[in-house]
């Protein structure tokens, strides 16, 4: 990992391991480098080690092994309060005995910034999160969204270049969460700060981030921009974790011209793009996004393999139709079609042929 890219990296994890109990590794061999100004999201199921990584970066946990560097300086031995990292906690951690303004001026006071300067900065930070009138309130007198914004303002008010956010929107309802996602992204872009953001909401990760690190089992499964992550998952965990996904299991029969012919467990044949498979005979799990499935066979390439599917259920969802099919013996195959004037509405019981472009169907590892 020691190459030119890493020297420019602002935050860097190198071969970091972490164990709490000396028996199991919560973080296994983490390598991560992010440049200044990047908005990186750590996404992963509960218990996958996201918070642990964040805490190591903030200095509240020490890495069992490996180096964490900030701006090229190893910070393993720098105490948390000297790291200058802004942090938004999962439950906001606004000090209940201080007013909003006092909360915000706390980091400035401990930095011995003069009173008038302090007031100016607090005011600016409050205005930035559109909470200018709330300086005199106590945190308990604010709604969840307002508290969240204050927590954000507090993490930004001392002009930290790196801000860590641990599921800051976890406690908010959907509408407010979407509003705040937009807000956070806007502020982060305006200030040009580097953000490490933790969530287990994949939509949030996809909409906000420059890059997403998908965590599972203490490892980064894939680190990529959102579109790549969605369209080109590198393994079946990522494929299943990000977005909706249909999977079919089978064995590779042959690979020709970058297209793998996969024989499903019931004997049907399909085309797929080989990702984690290299030779015939390997077991694979193929993954195909519901919106990439075609049942209008005219749009498919000549000679493509198709599968028989029986319509189980048709769900009208407004902007899209969602149809559940029984394919290759499994009845959880979903296809999504746009609600357009000429769109066909399939009826339960109907039998159709479905197919797809070979590059939309990814043959991944079998587990």
């Amino acid at each position: 990992m020691v190459d030119t890219a890493s020297r420019e990296a602002f935050v860097e994890f190198e071969r970091v391991q972490k164990s709490y109990d000396g028996e199991t590794l919560v973080v296994k061999d983490l390598n991560l480098a992010l440049p200044k100004g990047e908005f990186l999201t750590m996404l992963g199921p509960s218990g996958s080690g996201k918070t642990t990584c964040l805490m190591m970066l903030a200095g509240f946990e020490t890495a069992t092994h490996g180096d964490i560097r900030l701006d090229g300086v190893a910070i393993n031995n720098i105490p948390p309060h000297k790291r200058g990292i802004g942090m938004v906690f999962q439950n906001y951690a606004l000090f209940p005995h201080m007013t909003v303004a006092e909360n915000l001026s706390f980091p400035l006071e401990v930095r011995k910034i003069g009173k008038s300067d302090r007031e100016k900065k607090v005011k600016r930070a409050l205005e930035m999160v559109q909470m200018g009138d709330f300086g005199g309130r106590r945190p308990a007198q604010l709604s969840g969204g307002q508290q969240q914004r204050i927590a954000l303002a507090r993490a930004l008010v001392f002009e930290a270049e790196l801000v860590l956010m641990d599921e800051p929107l976890g406690a908010l309802d959907k509408q407010l969460r979407e509003h705040m996602q937009f807000e956070i992204k806007r502020i982060a872009d305006n200030l040009g700060i580097t953000v490490v953001y933790v969530t287990h909401d994949q939509t949030e990760a996809l909409t906000m981030s420059d890059r997403v690190a998908v965590f599972n089992d203490g490892k980064i499964q894939q680190l990529a921009p959102p579109d790549t992550l969605y369209e080109a998952p590198e393994n079946s965990f990522v494929a299943q974790f990000i977005g909706e996904n249909n999977t079919l299991e089978g064995k590779v029969r042959e690979i020709t011209n970058g297209v793998a012919l996969v024989e499903l467990d019931n004997g049907d044949l399909i085309d797929a793009k080989p990702i984690n498979v290299s030779k015939p005979g390997e077991r694979t799990r193929v993954s195909i996004r519901p919106e990439r499935v075609e049942f209008n066979l005219d749009r498919l390439e000549e000679g493509s393999h198709t599968l028989k599917a029986e319509v189980q259920e048709f769900i009208y969802m407004g902007d899209i139709f969602r149809t559940r099919l029984k394919v290759a013996g499994k009845d959880d195959f979903i296809i999504k079609t746009r609600n357009a004037p000429d769109q066909v509405r399939l009826k339960p019981g109907e039998v159709v042929e479905i197919g797809w472009q070979a590059e939309d169907c990814r043959a991944l590892d079998a587990n």
Binding site: M87, F89, A93, F158
Partner: protein, 579 residues
């Protein structure tokens, strides 16, 4: 423990949060659009059966309240009987003073006209009233009680009254002897009954049998005798009543006591028109009336002076007059080192003042104990709150261990530890830090009391602190550090303020408990380390001056309530959390 334990109820609610939320929607906020408000207002709302909703809600709630009341009734009754009632009784006793006016009713009335400030002795009428009052009190054995009551105010009153009880009998016997010498018939109870009582009453009285279990018939005076011999009638009535009620005997057959003779002599020499009397024993009466003028006699004041010269000086009379009202502020004045004088309340002489010092010492030492408890308890509670639950529970047992050991054992253990030949001194001497000759005095003084009581009350500080600290999430400290605060700043600015409610609760508990503590200061306090409660206990069990004890207790209660009120004003009582 029971003497020192103050039952104590803390209420805590979080109403603040709720109230203040209501105005959170005044200013427009970006998410205002998300809040749906329903401000429609249409008349009183009706319940399903047509009654106003408010009323049917009230009815439903009343039933709930009633049921709740029934659940707490046993405790309520218990508290009423064992707590509220004794306190009310104590408050009453601290001002109650009926003993003087009940024991000396005539004297109190007679003293009304006496001006105690002139320095003159009271009039003969006062002495006369006192003669009858004290004599009757002595017969009832009440004079010593009154003596000890007045002794609180005037030293020597107790022995004066004890002496007078005997002496006044001699005073009357002078007349008794002379009448009896004149005619033996006066020795006889029946003669008196015949003379004083109505015929009806005599018939009933002679028919009465002691074994019947009823009281003897109540004296009915002979018609006209009251006008003829008013004082004799009064004295004989008192006598008859005493014999009848207190002794359970028949007044008609008992020989009268000496004041009857005194009164009789007074009446006869006071110009009674004996000639007009025509009832039984008229001759006997005539004979006595003729002889009485030549009897040997003294005035009452001389008689009193003869018993004790204190009666011939003003202080005892001033004291009786000052304490004759039914209610008195005397106990309270006493409790603050003042006394009642004819010129109003005055501070006592400097060498007689003790309660002010004791109150101040109690406050001061309780404060020191509270502060020591905070100093020692805070770190312990911190560690307990930040340890994993299993270890914390184990250590909690160590904190609670003192609770499971007898208070006496713990206090005595401190005696063993701290005394001059005790463990600590031995160790210090052995280490050579202290010479064998000048071992430290650590017990039977304030230091001993503070050490022992800090140890005993420590759990009362640790427990509320611990439960408050447990509710402070560690993320606050982390947040503070991530914002750039050093460990100390993070603790002091963020953690400590949030633990203040625990300190508040612990301090209130410890302070109030220690202010009323009694056993430990008694054992290890010596003379300089005792509390006001030790004085209260002394007055309750040794000097039997319950009024003063009650007044001291009332002041203590008032001080606690004032402190509690002040605490509420300064810190806010809803900032007190026990968990």
């Amino acid at each position: 423990m029971s003497a020192s334990f103050t039952p104590f109820v803390l209420t805590f609610d979080n109403k603040n949060n709720g109230d203040d939320m209501s105005n959170a929607s005044e200013a427009p906020t970006p998410d205002d659009g998300l809040n749906l408000t329903d401000n429609e207002n249409t008349g009183p709302v009706l319940a399903a059966d047509g009654t106003p909703l408010k009323r049917s809600l009230g009815r439903a709630l009343r039933r709930q309240k009633l049921r709740a009341l029934m659940l707490i009734a046993p405790l309520l009754i218990f508290v009423l009987l064992t707590f509220i009632a004794p306190i009310a009784d104590m408050l009453f006793r601290s001002v109650e003073n009926q003993i003087v006016s009940e024991t000396l009713p005539r004297t109190v009335v007679a003293l009304d006209d006496w001006d105690s400030t002139t320095g003159e002795l009271p009039s003969e009428a006062v002495y006369e009233a006192a003669y009858y009052d004290i004599f009757i009190a002595a017969e009832r054995k009440l004079h010593t009680r009154l003596g000890s009551r007045l002794n609180y105010e005037l030293t020597g009153a107790s022995s004066l009254f004890r002496k007078s009880g005997r002496g006044l009998d001699d005073l009357g016997e002078v007349y008794q002897d002379q009448f009896e010498d004149l005619n033996e018939a006066w020795e006889d109870g029946e003669t008196w009954a015949l003379l004083m009582g109505s015929g009806d009453w005599q018939d009933k009285a002679y028919a009465w049998e002691k074994s019947s279990g009823d009281l003897a018939p109540k004296l009915e005076l002979r018609e006209g005798i009251e006008e003829l011999l008013p004082k004799t009638a009064a004295a004989y009535s008192s006598f008859a009543n005493f014999v009848r009620v207190d002794d359970g005997d028949n007044p008609a057959t008992e020989d009268p006591w000496s004041p009857v003779y005194t009164a009789f002599w007074q009446d006869l020499t006071g110009g009674a028109t004996v000639a007009s009397y025509s009832g039984p024993e008229a001759e006997l009466l005539m004979e006595a009336a003729n002889a009485a003028g030549g009897f040997e006699s003294t005035t009452f004041s001389e008689g009193f002076a003869g018993i004790d010269k204190d009666w011939a000086s003003t202080p005892i009379w001033q004291t009786i007059k000052t304490y004759s009202p039914k209610y008195t502020s005397g106990y309270f004045l006493n409790s603050v080192d003042m006394q009642k004088t004819p010129d109003g309340p005055e501070l006592r002489d400097a060498n007689e003042r003790i309660y002010g010092i004791l109150f101040k010492r109690t406050m001061f030492m309780s404060m020191v104990i509270t502060i020591s408890c905070i100093m020692l308890g805070y770190p312990v509670a911190w560690i307990l709150a930040n340890l994993p639950a299993r270890t914390a529970n184990l250590l909690m047992i160590l904190v609670l261990l003192p609770f499971w050991t007898s208070l006496l054992v713990r206090t005595s253990a401190w005696k063993v530890m701290l005394q001059q030949q005790g463990v600590i001194n031995d160790v210090l001497v052995w280490l050579g830090l202290v010479g064998d000759g000048d071992r430290l005095v650590m017990i039977n003084n304030q230091f001993g009391t503070i050490v022992a009581m800090t140890h005993i009350l420590l759990p009362f500080m640790i427990l509320p602190l611990y439960s408050v600290m447990q509710t402070i999430p560690p993320t606050y400290l982390r947040a503070a550090k991530s914002l750039g605060a050093t460990n100390w700043t993070a603790f002091w600015r963020v953690y400590f303020p949030q633990s203040v409610p625990g300190i508040g609760a612990g301090s209130i508990l410890v302070f109030i408990l220690s202010i009323g503590y009694y056993i430990t200061p008694e054992i290890v306090g010596g003379t300089t380390g005792t509390f006001i409660s030790n004085r209260i206990a002394y007055h309750i069990s040794s000097s039997l001056n319950w009024g003063l004890a009650a007044a001291l207790g009332t002041i203590l209660l008032a001080v606690v309530m004032i402190l509690y009120w002040a605490y509420d004003k300064i810190v806010g009582i809803d900032n007190v959390k026990l968990g």
